[in-house]
Amino acid sequence: MNVLPWISRWYRRLIRLYPPSFQADFGDELAWVFDQATEEAAHQGNSGLLRLCLHELSDLPWNILNQLWRNREVNAMLEKFLIGGKRIVFYIVTLITALIFLPPIFGARIGRGWRLIALLVGWFVFTTLAWQARKLPIKVWFYTGLVVLAGLFWPTSFLIESNFVFQDWLPQPYLGILDVVIFLLPILALIIAAYLIYAAMKMIREQQNKQAVQGEVASTRAGRGGWTLTYILTLSILLLVKFYHNLSGLIMWDNTYDPIEFLWLFLPILIAILCGIILLLNLPGKSKLAGLLFLLLVPAMMFIVYVPAVNIDPHQVTTERAERLSYAIENYYQREGKYPQTLSQLVPRDRLFIPVPMIINGQSWCYDAGLDYYRLGYVDRCHWSSPNFFGTVFKSVGDVSGLPAVCDAVVTAHNQQFSRDDFIGCK
């Protein structure tokens, strides 16, 4: 019995499982090549024919799935919804992480209905932009990274509560914008660090290929590329280090007024996961490991930074800073024979910068000095929830009798406006 026509007929039926466009383009050729192969295998007897059919059948499910996945019509439809290829995985994972992380960030403000929909649409738009942003030229990321790094040096102590007595130097709405910028800059740094790593990994891969193909000529050229790579990776590391430093600062300053504690971590962790997934899905070969490390280590480091920062006592930090400042003032006195009239006179010889007290956002030291005396103090309160302020003298040297109490003017002004005798709590 000649089984070849029967096998050929069955193979044609199986070809119908391929997407229509593939059948139209290659169906006849596929059937012809298979027929040729079966005819040749038949010369080797039934075992040869069986081996060929099993080989073809074992490959068939994968080939069909592969063609369905790459199918132009299906992909075109998915592309319309921006969920083609790897992006499906990306959106599913980011949506799941967003559902875990976003509600705690926005809490009751999300509510239900249009706000929730707006949040999800916003997140979808943001993740789409983040996905596409990796294609931006490396120069864009590098120079933006430099600007953001410079911005990260803006003191975290400027993250301030609006309408506070010490913050009359900048009117609303600029204070609110400033808060947002100071909060978002570290997150932007995180994103840029991830894209710099992405670009660096791609560069390493291209250099390896070039060196393999062109040999020594390429390795000389790679010297220049090596420096670029060093700049990129260095900037990426600096951004990450400063991100952690600022995050720690934000958490510490947050302790000084109605702290939100671990909620600080939710958005940065969500962004780190997002960036890690983008790296993991898009980096080739073993460089995917960089994406995996970013995904795991960056959030883990956030917890490591968070724990000491959240447990820090602002009063203790203020005392330590006052101690350093007082040491610098006395150094100045030893050298100049008089006390500095303002603390700024200590900069830069005795102090590179003047640290600030950490009791209230936006405050500075209360300092007054004459030729042979000085007083260093700060506005204090026993707890962030207390509306009652008082001046604390850290150090007083020389004859200060007859002088008004330290921080008197600021404390009086504030207490006239906000102080409450009926406040229940510490005094």
């Binding site: 012809w32 192969a37 080989h55 074992s58 080939n63 069909i64 790459r70 290929n209 393999a212 040999g215």
Partner: protein, 116 residues
């Protein structure tokens, strides 16, 4: 648009892609010709199924590494379609060959690598 001056960006190739491109290096061939050629060039190590071959050919066509020529009539009056390398496909094949040669040269410098 593919950058003809940078064929390295497409490397490394899968073994199947490399042998398909290699089988077209000496001129156009039809599907069955490529199938047999891959088998011969790889000394029987790689036997592509018809489905795998056409999946790969479709991808190579989409990437402009190969092109399909006008049909001719083969045995039994059936149409046979021929494929040939494009300029891009040729430069990728050369680049991959040079890459593999570099790997072999590197291994040859260490005698143990070939005997381990």
């Amino acid at each position: 648009m593919n950058d003809l001056t940078q064929p390295e960006q497409f490397l490394p190739l899968t073994e199947a892609s490399y042998f398909i491109l290699l089988s077209l290096a000496h001129g156009p061939a039809h599907g069955y010709g490529i199938l047999k050629s891959v088998q011969n060039l790889s000394e029987g190590r790689i036997t592509l199924s018809a489905g795998t071959l056409y999946g790969a050919l479709k991808r190579l066509l989409e990437d402009d590494w190969i092109e399909r020529l006008e049909s001719d009539e083969g045995a039994g009056g059936r149409e046979r379609k021929f494929y040939r390398l494009t300029g891009l496909g040729g430069s990728i094949l050369s680049a991959e060959t040079r890459r593999l040669q570099a790997l072999v040269r590197a291994a040859a410098r260490l005698p143990g690598a070939l005997t381990a």
